[in-house]
């Protein structure tokens, strides 16, 4: 964070904080329009239309059409919308599990800590894509299987962060002081500990999001996730692979690019939130 203070003397029109917040708002609007688009776009555009098969991108069909004449733009937006929904559920579930387990490990005594730390290590020692596939497969795939699978597999690293943060703040002098001033345990948890870890949870949640979406797409791509009837990004990509060699590049290119943009958007929101919330960096 060291730069030349001497050169920073001019005051830009928008200060850093305004620019970051503006970016966050634009990013959220973008995501919201994708979700709404997925809900309100005309279902008819993804019906089979054999007269317009394999059309390259044009003004009528921005992303072209596939081998059944379905509009790829509509399919992509609907796929992304579904992915964001799945991501939201998965990330929320994971963040909640992380919060509960992390807090329990740090404040319920040594046995609880040992057990929970062991579970965290266990989950971290196996690539969670593998665990995710196992769980989704066991639950019979589909929407329910993939969402529960995502929830159960993405919490460990965040839980570890929460545990460390709680341990740290519990040993802080101001928390010990509070106890000596006669404050009950629940009061300390509510006023000292929870406010301390809530930014971590929020940022952790935002950064989990893209992760969850990518893994959902990956598992679906492998055919173990959502059913082939749903317009999920993973399914679109997996189907398109077959047609790549026949020169229909748009089938995979646009959906892939869109997935990348959505994931990057979430990442960026998480990063900016971290900068805005972190008191040591807040004045940059």
């Amino acid at each position: 964070m060291l730069s030349t203070p001497e050169e920073k003397n001019k005051q830009p029109l928008l200060n850093q904080r305004r620019r970051m917040l503006l970016t966050i708002v634009i990013a959220l609007l973008f995501l919201l329009s994708v979700v709404l688009g997925g809900l309100f776009l005309d279902e008819g555009r993804i019906a089979t239309n054999l007269n317009e098969r394999n059309v390259p991108p044009s003004f009528d069909h921005l992303f072209g059409t596939d081998w059944l004449g379905r509009d790829m733009f509509t399919r992509t937006i609907m796929g992304l919308s579904l992915s964001i929904g799945v991501g939201l559920l998965g990330a929320t579930g994971s963040a909640l599990i992380a919060l509960v387990l992390g807090m329990t490990a740090a404040s319920m005594g040594r046995v609880a800590d040992r057990v929970i730390s062991w579970i965290i290590d266990l989950f971290l020692s196996v690539p969670h894509l593998v665990t995710l596939i196992l769980i989704a497969f066991t639950l019979g795939g589909g929407f329910k299987g993939i969402v529960i699978g995502l929830m159960l597999t993405h919490w460990p690293s965040l839980a570890r962060v929460v545990r460390a943060e709680v341990l740290q703040v519990r040993s802080a002098e101001y928390v010990q002081m509070s106890k000596q001033m006669g404050k009950p345990r629940w009061w300390i948890a509510l006023h000292h500990i929870l406010p301390h870890i809530s930014p971590q949870i929020l940022i952790g949640f935002m950064l989990l999001f893209p992760h969850v979406i990518l893994h959902e797409a990956a598992v679906t791509f492998l055919g173990l996730g959502l059913s082939p009837h749903e317009p999920a990004i993973g399914i679109i990509l997996s189907e398109s692979m077959k047609y790549l060699s026949s020169g229909m590049w748009w089938l995979a290119f646009f959906p892939g690019l869109c997935l990348l943009i959505v994931v990057r958007t979430f990442d960026q929101i998480g990063e900016y939130l971290r900068t805005l919330i972190d008191p040591t960096r807040a004045h940059e």
Binding site: M1, L2, S3, T4, P5, E6, E7, K8, N9, Q11, N15, R17, R18, L21, A282, H283, E284
Partner: protein, 307 residues
């Protein structure tokens, strides 16, 4: 000739107040200090008086929301930001206050050797360890294995083997017991005697007096007085500025009687002399503008009434 000269240094921070409003805080105003070879300048003052920020400004490590004006020269040449980066750790070295500044994963002998610039690093490190009574086995230890005193001597060794001409020590002695403190301070005197210019930043006048040549008294981000050590005696009659006198009298071994009030905050500095609201000598003239530093009896003072 002075090695390092700081002239009319001002530093302001822009900070967010509520939401998006930014406000400027004047944390250092019109500050002047001069470091000379073989001399120790002690910088004393309350917390929040800008002592550490001066060190950060010299080393070029202020945060990005700082606005800096004024000039600094090193051996007669302008000290630009690029030059600060080139010189720090080599010609201008910092002795930080705590062990946390050592790399926890590197053996201390190696850490000291990486700072050596000329000659055989191994040899230089052995010599400096011997000089500071660090046993040969210490070089193979990690920072966590060192006692507080050993860690401090290691930090000092790092600064010395670099061959720095200017040493800046930021609060190197708080919470040390008298024996260890004496040793730490003695090390700085030795350094100065070997030709370095030392700036010792501390809030503890007592320890500053025992080794420094000159004392610069800071108040609310500026120097109010620079005086030879010998002036700090008796009831403080020889001191020039009313704040220095008050600081001296408030020591437990003197009267232990404080003046009222507290240092103004950087966001609400008084319009005239910064000490005026608490000053026993204040007159309406004091409110008319910031007094300039002026020479007075072998020292300098920023007060229109001082005699």
């Amino acid at each position: 000739m002075p090695i390092l000269e700081v002239k009319n240094l001002s530093v302001a921070f822009t900070q967010y107040t509520t939401g998006f409003k930014q406000k400027s805080h004047q944390v250092i105003s019109d500050l002047n200090v001069t470091l000379e070879a073989g001399k120790i300048l002690a910088v004393v003052g309350a917390s929040g008086s800008g002592k550490s920020l001066l060190a950060h400004a010299i080393l070029g490590v202020l945060p990005t929301n700082a606005k800096v004006s004024g000039s600094m020269t090193y051996v007669g040449e302008e000290l630009t930001h690029a030059r600060k980066i080139a010189l720090r750790g080599k010609e201008i070295a910092l002795v930080p206050q705590s062990v946390n500044y050592l790399d926890p994963l590197m053996k201390v002998g190696k850490q000291v050797r990486t700072s050596v610039r000329t000659g055989d690093p191994k040899e230089a490190q052995k010599n400096v360890f011997e000089r500071y009574h660090l046993k040969p086995e210490v070089e193979g230890m990690y920072p966590f294995e060192l006692s507080g005193g050993m860690a401090r001597r290691t930090l000092l060794s790092t600064a010395i083997v670099s061959g720095a001409k200017v040493i800046i020590a930021d609060e190197p002695t708080p919470g040390l017991d008298p024996t260890v403190m004496k040793e730490a301070l003695g090390n700085f005197r030795e350094l100065a005697d070997s030709g370095c210019a030392v700036m010792l930043i501390t809030h503890d006048i007592d320890s500053a007096l025992s080794i420094a040549d000159e004392i610069a008294v800071f108040y609310a981000g500026t120097t109010v007085e620079i005086a030879p050590v010998t002036d700090f005696t008796g009831k403080g009659e020889a001191l020039r500025h009313p704040y220095s006198k008050a600081l001296w009298r408030a020591l437990p071994q003197n009267d232990f009687i404080p003046i009222k009030g507290s240092q103004p905050h950087s966001s609400a500095l008084p319009p005239g002399c910064l000490f005026e609201p608490r000053c026993p000598w204040a007159t309406s003239d004091c409110r008319k503008g910031r007094p300039e530093m002026r020479e007075l009896r072998d020292g300098t003072v920023r007060c229109i009434h001082a005699t």
